[in-house]
Symmetry: C2
Subunit: 358 residues, 2 copies
């Protein structure tokens, strides 16, 4: 039931380990066991659950732990600065290894800290949410938010390993688990129609967190993510497809205020906007639109943006999004299930129409 795969990036290649009980596997923690200084960045929810068992294995190393409040609002330049102070006060050296123990917020924040401290130290991702395991912990994107836009300040900094212990998902609140499914479904939509069908079939097992079904879903998601990242590490081309639903989704998150909508929820509503626009353009059929809405709905995910968020709100926030090029908002749209495309040459009125229709 344990799986390992490799993100192929030349000298920056690294393994992703997926399975239950991995935090007890000394062989996977070797990089940490060899380090003289280890810095664990975690949050108030995850830390008490998984930090002690992890630390118990780290033996001789000096272990420093910084516990950050839970929530998207901590993914800020201010908390990033607090981490820098923590590292310097504890005289953390360039040879230290940083561990991000938590969900996407912790991974992005600690990852950017690892990228920037002394111009870069090693780090290991130990994602403890479904969203982090299937998406944010893989691929080296790190960032903090700015009040004017999500993930606007960051770095590409690849981890030296990702350890996705499926046992940690057992404590994940239902709402967060479901939000993670939005990113799982995304892989099916963008490039893996077979996976999408499997998800339609196995959705019930997934929702009750059946271990084998869950392992398959995480593995297949990571395989998809790893292949895209290997082909386009710095998002010059096809990596942009992974942003399906995200440009709309970021606008929702920024509009609602960080943390009100979970990232996965905003991505789900954003994916529906992309699907509806694709339908309006005649690129997908009404049946396919139904299929997409159906799967998202069965996973308990929102199909529409927040009440009262209008087209102007979207356009205002989307103008700041970094997926823009030369003044145009880049959209990821669908030409079928399993076939996403980067689209820049749409008519402005088609974008407006879909934003006004919901």
């Amino acid at each position: 039931m344990n799986h390992s795969l490799q993100v192929e990036l030349g000298e920056r290649s690294y393994p992703i380990h997926i399975g239950p009980g991995l935090l007890k596997r000394n062989d996977l923690l070797q990089e940490l066991l060899d380090a003289r200084q280890i810095v664990v960045i975690t949050n108030q929810t995850v830390g008490p659950l998984y930090s002690a068992p992890l630390r118990a294995r780290l033996g001789a190393a000096e272990v420093y732990e910084m516990v950050i409040p839970d929530g998207e609002h901590t993914k800020s330049l201010a908390v990033f600065g607090d981490i820098m102070t923590f590292l310097l006060e504890n005289r953390i050296e360039r040879s230290a290894v940083m561990v991000a123990l938590g969900g996407g917020v912790i991974g992005d924040l600690a990852g950017f800290a690892a990228a920037s401290y002394q111009r870069g130290i090693k780090f290991i991702q130990i994602p403890t949410t479904l969203l982090a395991q299937v998406d944010s912990s893989v691929g080296g994107k790190t960032a903090v938010n700015h009040p004017l836009g999500k993930n606007m300040i960051g770095a590409f900094h690849q981890p030296c390993a990702v350890i996705a212990d499926l046992d940690t998902l057992s404590t994940l609140p239902e709402r967060e688990f479901r939000a993670g499914l939005a990113e799982v479904i995304k892989y099916g939509l963008i490039q893996d129609a077979e996976f999408f069908s499997w998800l339609e079939e196995c959705c019930a097992g997934l929702l009750v967190r059946d271990p084998e079904t869950l392992a398959q879903a995480v593995l297949r998601s990571c395989q998809n993510k790893a292949s895209v990242v290997a082909a386009d590490e710095r998002e010059g081309g096809i990596r942009a497809l992974l942003n399906l639903g995200h440009t709309f989704g970021h606008a929702i998150e920024t509009h609602a205020g960080y943390g009100k909508w979970l990232h996965g929820e905003a991505v789900a509503a954003g994916t529906m906007l992309a699907a509806r626009m694709s339908r309006n353009l005649g690129w997908i059929t009404a049946d396919q639109l139904e299929q997409i809405a159906g799967l998202l709905q069965r996973c308990g995910l929102p199909l529409k943006p927040p009440e009262g968020m209008g087209a102007e709100d979207f356009l205002e926030h989307m103008a700041h999004d970094k997926k823009n090029a030369d003044g145009r908002i880049t959209l990821i749209l669908l030409q079928g299930i399993g076939h996403a495309v980067v689209c820049r040459d749409y008519a402005e009125r088609d974008l407006r129409a879909v934003l006004e229709s919901v």
Copy 2:
């Protein structure tokens, strides 16, 4: 009198152009002339002198300019955050090109901003101080300071070109010009004995800023820097030699308060400490120590740390320096003029002795 050389870093290779009148050369500004959005980061001293002529050439592009107060204290996370806000408020896109127009502070600060904004945008270094032209603008090191240590927060982010217009040095205050010479002399000391001899010979011409002498000094410095960076981009090995005088120097800067001592002045005093320790170890002769002190002195550079700064002050600040590995402070020492070495296995008492002797 114009020279170009290439920093060889595979797909991250870039040219350094050195000569008078370069800011008027459209062919060198091509990257900028092609961009839709250009962001110039400069300071209150340099901006009024060189920004207008540069902007006059940029024609059709949208040009945004952020003018920052002059001084080392602006190389902070707070000002970095202000730049991010400026970029987002002006809806700067990922395709924009950032220009660092100024000295080392502007280059380091704007460089880190370019590295981090939307996880990295292009930037061009237009260094206007001797120190920036011969050292900080080349090699991709970018950073801001933290109250607990210099350059502690940053990134490796290579520019896509360095344009060193020697005309800009004509407005450089004497004290800053001389501080820059400390980094020029450094190249002679670490790996280029012939250059050191040339500097001893041509020092007088350099001090009166004779154009041809100056061009030679900048060119030879950049050749040295480029060769070291090409061999070791991320300072895993020989690039550390460029830190000759810097570990001591950073301690002086931090102790004195950023900006009280110019970086080059602190490096000069730090270089003398390294030379004295090398002499104490019997690695260089008394004559060589005299030669080094003589050249630094002729350039008007300080040979000793600030009055009242004791050994404990040094050790405290140096413990934070990022050139440390596994608890030991790494030193760069000399085994001759033109032959620096990385040294970790010195006796603690030898370090203490040299710090207490001055």
